[in-house]
């Protein structure tokens, strides 16, 4: 019994018939073709699937696509400007080497942006707590903390 959902993703309208059990992450990746958000754990622990829903980050692996009906979604693909210019947080991650294998990065960048929106001048410990819902196995987080700090300072990194 499929249901029709309509939503906005990265400023573009989408409408599809979906099964009620289809997870939002699968809708984004396989129906909408946005493979930036990743699946890392299916239990909402790792945060690789993080997207922004009506202005708040959510873990799209533990949400149904039908729950996003009529709502506004931003994925990592919607973060850089249309002309390809990186967002200051992306730029800071690049400059500070805040990523290695890159698998957690889309979720990490979106969580970092949300953290900075709520607290434009965070301490290191506030940055770390703000990112505790996103796991990274490569970096040890230190360069990620550096990236968020420099993005906050508006420097975009050294």
């Amino acid at each position: 019994m499929k249901r029709t959902i309509s939503l906005t993703i990265n400023g573009k309208r989408y409408s599809h018939e979906v099964e009620p059990r289809l997870l939002l992450i699968h809708y984004l990746r396989e129906v909408a073709g946005l493979t930036g958000p990743h699946i890392g754990c299916e239990t909402s622990i790792c945060g690789a699937c993080t997207v922004v829903l009506d202005g708040k980050t959510v873990k799209s692996c533990t949400m149904f696509a039908v729950q996003a009906d009529g709502r506004d979604v931003t994925t990592i693909e919607g973060v850089a400007a249309a002309d390809g210019k990186l967002d200051p947080v992306q730029e800071a991650f690049w400059n500070e080497h805040g990523l290695q294998c890159g698998f957690c990065t889309p979720g990490m960048v979106l969580s970092a942006k949300q953290l900075l929106a709520a607290n434009p001048n965070p301490t290191d410990q506030e940055i770390r707590h703000g990112l505790e819902g996103n796991l990274c196995r490569c970096t040890g987080y230190q360069h990620i903390v550096n990236a968020v700090r420099t993005a906050a300072a508006g420097k975009g990194g050294v």
Binding site: H38, A80, H97, L99, F103, E132, T139, G140
Partner: protein
């Protein structure tokens, strides 16, 4: 002879930001699960819920009756295919036949039993749920010491003692050393099973082209070429008709340095259903069915004189192998043995390994691969000896270090340490920490009843794996450099990376060597149809072996460019610099692109020179490299809760020359996080029935951002003479140096209670109990 002068602003040694990153930051990179093909089917694997059981029957019909199902395969279908390979060999090694799917028995939870293939991943999962398997559960054994005890339940009925192999290695005269000793300290030390947990799980897409009888396989692997050779063997197909493509790989840490049943299975299925098929591992499957690391129970004995001179070491290693051998499983503890002397001068080592089968997923290479276990043991033993002798652990280490004038230093385990200056990083760590003041602070803290600890490890590594003699399938690496007709440069490296940044570091090397812009250099890897045969990225070898191969390919290419430039400029010798070849006598120059064009248009050729500008080099390293360093950790333990606060984490690593400091520091931080994970939080726990209790990320404590201390990382530089770059490798350093420093620090903190050793992970519960029991375990 002409010499090469790079352009004034050389890139090697600079923190160039990574060229990989824009695609990763914008969500436009292609990982395995992003690969989509027309008509692609999805596979779902039915796995054993039991640690050990007989398969009484399998009823595939309920699965076949489900919508969208194309096929179901069980053990009977793959019986005649090859086995999952073990490349390691040891005398008398018992190798169980490792079928792609279980036959009449399952040996660990997660053992693949059947595969369901459907048009959609949800339908495949539905059908897998519908498949009926009747099991007769058997008793399991999951503890390696219990497995080799008399009367244990056999994992493989044909080998009732659960012993896969025993291995003995001895150097010097350990018995004499122990007779000469004033002091002998003994300790049982474990290195618990860990789950590598690359953020991207494994996955495979296989596409069979019946017209060509060729198979294209995308796999999230660290070793595309070895995978091609070995999967072709399993499937019985010509190797050159199998193409392996490694898309973006979301972390490996050794867990993708392997050949897995699922890779061959997907190839088999694609051939059978004549459609592309995709399988992506769930996190639960990743925990149950991808290799684990470590799994050691070690018994150490260290002999020394009263003045602290260490004389010899005895160790008995019980390696938890799991139920099967994966690619390198039995080799892991032999690497531990090689590492046993650490950084110390003593020349007497006696090691015995027992490889124990258990009803668990196999262990294999996980970041450090055998060396963290050894380093943890030796660095704990040094501290235990220091406590016994009432010596400062720093002084004891300094007394026993291999001295600077003793390199190259032959070890009791048959290695030749290439270069070292072991005092230097220790001194730098002590200076950074303000060691003397810290000890004074500790005295004051103890007077206040606070549990403050200072822990040190001075670690060594065996890296740049390695000479081919030491690796089953060769330890060399390959590089091709092509200067295209327009002067752009393409590098093909056999060292397929997965987050290490070789697209950047290798391009830095090329830019410097040829005097071209880094933007003109493209580094390609991970496609067996494009890249010459290679070994892969693991064992801290990417730059130290792959980079060295690139160095020599560049040398060959530069020689050829000079020939063309000399011909064009009608001179005897030229210098390559700043994108041009210059004749220093006449001052005339020819641009790099003009030389390239001349080489391809080939209207005129220098004597004995072929057209084109391509060079390939396969480099065989003459030795391993031996990085080293010192980690110093200050902790404070909360008496009330047993929780550990890391006050300072200082690491000074010597990985030889550094190509890109930013990337090296990232490797160090990530390595430390994994070492800290082992020291404090992570543990793969099986219950007695073979159930993996830590079966999801909800139950396996991976380091999180707010748990990590600030890492004060710096370096000393002792170039390696083993390769022309002077690099040593850094991928595993942080992991190897970390765990003993942390445990030494916490034991130091608790030493006023009489604590002498604690096994990892140092969970608050464990520490709290120790404190509550007055230091007695």
């Amino acid at each position: 002879m002409a010499t090469t002068i790079g352009k004034p602003d050389l890139l090697v040694g600079k923190s160039v930001r990574r060229r990989e990153d824009p695609r990763l930051l914008t969500g436009t990179a292609t990982y395995l699960d992003d690969v989509k093909m027309p008509g692609m089917h999805h596979a779902c694997i039915v796995r054993s819920p039991h640690g050990a059981a007989l398969i009484k029957s399998i009823n595939t019909q309920p699965a076949l009756d489900r919508p969208g199902v194309a096929a179901v395969f069980t053990g009977a279908d793959i019986k005649n295919l090859g086995a999952v390979p073990c490349a390691a060999s040891l005398p008398g090694l018992r190798v169980p036949h490792h079928h792609l799917l279980a036959q009449d028995r399952v040996y660990y939870q997660g053992h693949p039993v059947a595969v369901v293939v459907a048009t959609d991943r949800y339908l495949a999962a539905d059908a897998a749920d519908a498949l009926e398997v009747e099991y007769e559960p058997l008793p399991a054994v999951t503890d390696p010491e219990k497995a080799i005890a008399a009367g244990a339940q056999p994992v493989h009925p044909e080998w009732p003692d659960n012993v896969s192999f025993t291995f003995h290695q001895e150097g010097g005269d350990t018995e004499q050393a122990f007779r000469d000793a004033d002091v002998i300290v003994k300790q049982r030390i474990t290195s618990q099973r860990l789950i590598p947990t690359a953020m991207e799980t494994r996955g495979v897409v296989a596409d069979w082209r019946p017209g060509e009888k060729s198979l294209t396989m995308f796999s999230s692997t660290q070793i595309p070429h070895l995978l091609r050779t070995l999967v072709a063997g399993i499937l019985g197909m010509p190797e050159n008709l199998l193409r392996v493509i490694t898309p973006e790989v979301g972390g490996g840490f050794g867990s993708k340095l392997n050949v897995y049943a699922e890779e061959a299975l997907m190839g088999f299925i694609a051939m059978r259903i004549r459609k592309p098929v995709k399988w992506v591992e769930s996190r639960r499957e990743n925990f149950q069915a991808t290799i684990h690391g470590r799994g050691h129970v070690d018994y150490f004995e260290l002999a020394a004189k009263r003045d602290g001179t260490m004389l010899g070491l005895k160790v008995k290693i019980i390696q938890d192998l799991g139920a099967y051998h994966q690619l390198l499983t039995p080799a892991m503890p032999t690497l531990s043995v090689l590492m046993m002397p650490g950084l110390y001068r003593f020349k007497n080592v006696c090691a015995d390994i027992v490889g124990a089968f258990t009803n668990c997923v196999p262990t294999d290479a996980y970041r450090g691969a055998g060396r963290p276990e050894a380093t943890h043991g030796i660095e704990r033993m040094v501290d235990i000896l220091a406590a016994e002798l009432k010596m400062d652990p720093v002084e004891l280490r300094q007394k026993n270090f291999v001295r600077n004038d003793e390199f190259p230093f032959p070890t009791a385990t048959g290695l030749m340490y290439d270069s070292g200056n072991y005092e230097a990083p220790l001194k730098q760590a002590l200076d950074t920490a303000g060691y003397t003041a810290l000890r004074a602070e500790q005295v004051a803290a103890r007077q206040q009843g606070r549990l403050m600890g200072i822990g040190i490890s001075t670690y060594g590594e065996i890296c740049a794996l390695g000479p081919s003699i030491a690796l089953p399938a060769g330890g060399w690496e390959s590089a091709t450099v092509k200067i295209e007709p327009t002067g752009k440069v393409t590098v093909l490296t056999g060292a397929s990376p997965h987050g290490q940044g070789e697209e950047t570091t290798f391009a830095q090397m090329v830019a410097d060597a040829l005097g071209v812009s880094i933007d003109d250099v493209l580094v390609i890897h991970g496609d067996t149809a494009v890249v010459q045969y290679g070994i892969g990225t693991f064992g801290s070898r990417g730059t130290a072996v792959g980079g060295a191969a690139l160095f020599y390919a560049l040398e060959d290419l530069k020689a050829k460019m000079r020939k063309f430039a000399c011909m064009i400029l009608e001179t005897e010798s030229v210098t390559l610099t700043g994108g041009s070849c210059i004749c220093e006598k006449t001052g005339k120059s020819v641009s790099f692109a003009e030389v390239a064009t001349a080489a391809y248009h080939a209207k005129k050729l220098p004597p004995n020179t072929e057209p084109g500008l391509v060079a390939t080099h396969f480099w065989e390293p003459p030795n391993f490299t031996f990085p080293f360093g010192a980690h110093l950790v200050v902790t404070e333990v909360d008496r009330e809760t047993g929780s550990i606060d890391i006050k300072r984490y200082i690491c000074v690593d010597d990985c030889g020359k550094v190509i890109n400091p930013l990337i090296v520091s990232g490797q160090v931080h990530g390595g430390v996080a994994q070492g800290l994970g082992q020291a404090l939080w992570e543990e793969a726990v099986y219950d007695d029935n073979g159930q993996l209790v830590s079966g999801e990320l909800t139950d396996y404590a991976l380091p999180k951002a707010h748990l990590m201390p600030w890492i004060e990382s710096s370096h000393t530089c002792t170039p390696s003479p083993t390769n022309p770059l002077g690099v040593k490798g850094v991928g595993e350093a942080g992991t190897i140096g970390c765990s003993p420093a942390v445990v030494n620090s916490v034991v130091d903190a608790l030493s006023p209670l009489g604590v002498r050793h604690i096994d990892m992970p140092l969970t608050p519960e464990k520490i709290w109990k120790l404190i509550a029991q007055g230091g007695q375990a």
